[in-house]
Homo-oligomer: 124 residues x 2
DNA sequence: CATAGTGCTATAATTAGTCAAGTGATGAAG
DNA sequence: CTTCATCACTTGACTAATTATAGCACTATG
């Protein structure tokens, strides 16, 4: 699983970032630290097993830090380390690309059609 | 599988880009159009079944165009459409992040160690 | 006292991705 | 002239990743 000629950091980076939920997790944490379940909900339906796997990975890569406030009752918070926050640029780039070049999904297209059909409502 | 509050294009974008091999494919095509097997090799060993699935998806999203030059013998070339090329910004952002914040993989670390010539250690 | 919440973990089932082989025409090599 | 490789894939069997579901030990709320 290597690029044709030699090793490059971008290849590695892509391989990390393409893991399912990873970018969603980072994006959620960019707004501030969250607890485990809280994060799961923010991310939109990632199940706990996968979430734990990802968070462990992100922690070992130094993108995320885990603070255990109390064991019982359990209370933990996850937040981005510096390397994690630096992904803001990547998310921003994706954001910009999405708005200008990604065709809306069927679901969103339906929603937009609905909004367009309704009488004008002030959307700020 | 939706974010907590409403739908946003970034979420959709991330969901597309996190599919395995997708970003690798885009990155390979950024250097110019490629044939099917050629692309598979450039991408670093993606198998044909997955490659086809991804390319079909990218085509339907309008990121990639497929040109069939001849059916038999088969000759096809894949290249980025405008929306695909626009991902250059995203790749660039990942590139920059990778260089400054991603710890080298074990493999690369081994390579670098070798190059940096460990002090007084002779690997024979 | 039942219910919902915390951060997980275990098990099983589903889904996604991989591997190996094959297709059918063609060009190159033996 | 036979064999082999190459092109762009397809097929089917397999494995790895992700999911649903349940549960743990415990607190806080109603």
């Amino acid at each position: 699983m290597e690029p044709a000629g030699g090793y490059c950091p971008v290849y590695d980076a892509i391989s990390v970032l393409q893991e399912k939920w990873t970018l969603h997790i980072v994006r959620a944490l960019l707004r501030g630290p969250l607890g485990f379940n809280e994060l799961g909900r923010a991310v939109g339906g990632c199940n706990p097993a996968t979430l734990k796997t990802r968070l462990d990975r992100l922690e070992e890569l130094g993108l995320v830090t885990r603070d255990v406030h109390s064991y019982m009752p359990p209370r933990t918070s996850y937040q981005l380390a510096e390397a994690g926050e630096a992904l803001q640029r990547v998310i921003d780039a994706i954001d910009e690309w999405a708005r200008s070049h990604l065709p809306p999904s069927p679901h969103r297209r339906a929603e937009m059609a609905q909004m367009a059909a309704l009488p004008q409502v002030q959307a700020s």
